[in-house]
């Protein structure tokens, strides 16, 4: 280990070359190479980003279709009452656990008629609570209040509670699944 090389600052393989006087022809070749290299780099980025972006955005591209889901039997629900119902995503991830479920407030308004409200407040999507005795939905976050029909009673919420489509098939109550109504989709 006695053959210690000169200090690294003296080693300059590129420098010697670069210091050689340059003719315009060399310059053109260099410029050409640098442009080609840049273009190829851009191409590499482009080629790679297509599958990656598509993969990342796939949930937006492959939307789960809406489907009618049975959420209970008609006689399970008392007339005039609003109760919390939860249903499962029809095709959840195996690792979804509890998050495959969605809650909603279901109100039986007549023999064959139901109204389903999203639990998400139209203000900032906090979960609204139904106060049975008061007949009001109350939002715990900023005190938004909705009447039993989902219309705004007080507080910051700008719009009535979003609704889901519900129908009665035979003796079953069914719900048309949809993405969680947050934002304009509400």
């Amino acid at each position: 280990m006695s053959d210690v090389a000169p200090p690294s600052s003296a080693v300059d393989p590129v420098g010697a070359h670069a210091r050689r006087p340059e003719s315009p022809a060399v310059l053109t070749r260099r410029r050409f190479l640098s442009r080609v290299s840049l273009a190829m780099s851009a191409l590499i980025g482009l080629v790679l980003s297509v599958p990656i972006l598509a993969y990342l955005l796939s949930p937006l591209i492959n939307r789960a279709p809406s489907a009618w889901i049975t959420i209970g039997r008609v006689d399970q629900f008392e007339l005039g009452r609003t109760v919390q119902v939860a249903y499962d995503d029809p095709s959840p991830f195996a690792w979804a656990g509890q998050t495959a479920r969605t809650s909603l407030w279901l109100r039986r308004t007549g023999q064959e008629s139901f109204t389903a409200f999203a639990v998400n407040c139209t203000h900032l999507a906090c979960p609204v609570n139904w106060l049975q005795d008061a007949g009001l939905f109350l939002c715990p976050c900023h005190g938004g209040v909705f009447y039993g029909d989902g219309s705004v009673a007080a507080g910051p919420p700008p719009r009535p509670l979003p609704r889901y489509d519900v129908r009665v098939q035979g003796d079953e109550v069914q719900l048309l699944s949809r993405p969680v109504p947050i934002g304009d989709e509400a």
Binding site: D89, F93, Q98, A134, L138, C141, G143, A154, P179, G183
Partner: protein, 464 residues
């Protein structure tokens, strides 16, 4: 001995230790004070976050059906798990505090001015990333707060003009909140932002080396780009000290102190309890962010609905733009805080506002109180309708927003003495028609219930 010496020479030559690294370590810097440790302390906090974060990732499972349980295991099952999680938790607080303090100091002593503008700008991006890390980190707890915070976040995102709904889709990415969300936030928190931060921290530190540590500001000695570099060099030649160890010992000492504090907090207080696991069917949630976002949380709650979207989207955009503009607004001129009253005023005003808002946010007086009961002392001695009114006051949700006898929400006026303030007509009117944040109870109460409530309200009088 000779062999050892030879080995060292070989290494030194191949790695360039004496040639590149030692000069870097001992490069001259101006004599400065203790405030200059804040930057390196932020870097050390970042390093601690990386190390504890990697450690946590050894056990954390980023799947919605297991994340909460794996964190419970880390907190209560794993050897020293609670301490590691505690350090990561308190370390994040430390990092936010230090980064903000560092930025405030740089602002106050005008160290963002020529030629260090890029240092400031990279710092602004790093601060934004630090906050993004803090937020995404909270979500990884995957408890009720985290779950509903995702809903809250997407609801806020939906108000961004034009691309709002697209953002919601990107965040939620599916039919229900959470199935795809957790892994998205995990990848962002663990890979995406940290990778970007590594690069930016590198650039940030490189810029400090390139332009040098700013000298202490002197009143009456403005920055002049024509002469600045020359004067700075002259100052270094005259009274510069080697970075290591003359300057760096303060960095190390402060880091030791701050690090011990974080460790102490982690051991004594530990990481916060997780509470209930994320569950879309548990609607009794009151999501609240960690303390460093409480000011924004409070600001949102106080913003009148008409300008709310503006506050949600406009305010952060405005703050970002203002920070980016700083080095372009005042690239030269006085650096000393005593000559820059506006700078001092702005920092003082912002600090005060944030502290007050954080306090307000922690109280959340605007939120209704769902679990209050009318205190016995209030009901005591009430007969007939007034007594029934007390029960109705609770049942009909009045108590959620109005306190009587020290119990109940603080959203609406406190009603312990309302009987002395308002007449029966005024009271009836308020109950039936509501207004300013209160629902109209006209259709919700039977006439006899209104009478009972009225009796109860009138019984709430000043004690003589």
């Amino acid at each position: 001995m000779r062999r050892l010496r030879g080995a060292w020479d070989w290494l030194d030559d191949r790695l360039g230790i004496s040639d590149t690294i030692v000069p870097l370590l001992v490069h001259p810097v101006p004599r400065v004070n203790w405030w200059y440790v804040l930057g390196s302390a932020t870097l050390i906090a970042f390093t601690i976050q990386v190390i504890t974060g990697v450690a946590l990732a050894f056990s954390y499972v980023p799947a919605p059906n297991a994340a909460y349980e794996s964190l419970e295991f880390i907190t209560h099952g794993a050897l020293f798990g609670n301490v590691v999680r505690g350090v990561h938790y308190w370390g994040s607080s430390a990092m936010v505090v230090l980064a903000v303090a560092h930025m405030a100091h740089v602002f106050l002593v005008g160290a963002f001015k020529y030629p260090r503008e890029m240092g400031w700008l990279t710092g602004v991006i790093l601060l934004a990333m630090t906050l993004a890390m803090a937020f995404t980190g909270q979500l990884l707890r995957w408890n009720q707060d985290a779950y509903w915070a995702v809903a809250l976040l997407s609801s806020m995102a939906s108000r961004v003009p034009l691309i709002g709904n697209l953002l919601v889709d990107v965040i939620i990415a599916g039919q229900t909140v959470g199935q795809s969300t957790l892994t998205r936030f995990y990848a962002t928190h663990v890979f995406l932002i940290p990778a970007a931060m590594f690069v930016l921290v590198g650039v940030h530190v490189y810029l400090v080396v390139r332009h040098g540590v700013s000298e202490l500001p002197k009143p009456g000695k403005p920055v002049n780009p024509k002469t600045y570099r020359k004067e700075y060099q002259a100052l270094l030649d005259r009274e510069g000290i080697p970075f290591w160890p003359d300057f760096a010992w303060k960095d190390v000492a402060f880091a030791l102190w701050a690090g011990s504090l974080v460790l102490l907090l982690a051991v004594v207080l530990g990481a916060p309890e997780l509470g209930k696991p994320a569950d879309p069917t548990l609607l009794e949630a009151h999501p609240k962010p960690d303390w460093y976002f409480l000011w924004l949380f409070a600001l949102l709650a106080y913003a009148p609905p008409s300008i709310e979207s503006l506050v949600i989207i406009g305010l952060p955009a405005l703050m970002g733009a203002a920070l980016v503009a700083v080095p372009f607004i005042a690239p030269t001129g006085e650096r000393a805080p005593e000559r820059r009253p506006w700078a001092v005023g702005i920092v003082a005003f912002l600090t005060l506002s944030v502290v007050i808002l954080i306090y307000q946010g922690s109280r959340s007086a605007w939120a209704p109180e769902l679990h209050a009961a009318v205190p016995a002392s209030v009901v005591e001695g009430l007969q007939g309708d007034a007594r029934r009114g007390a029960t109705l006051f609770d049942q009909k949700g009045c108590l959620a927003c109005h306190a009587v006898g020290g119990q109940g929400g603080q959203r609406g006026p406190e009603l312990s003495t309302v009987g002395s303030r308002l007449s029966a007509d005024q009271l009836t009117w308020r109950i039936l028609y509501g207004g300013s944040g209160m629902p109209a109870y006209g259709t919700l109460l039977r006439p006899d219930e209104v009478t009972a409530l009225l009796e109860f309200m009138q019984a709430q009088r000043e004690q003589r």
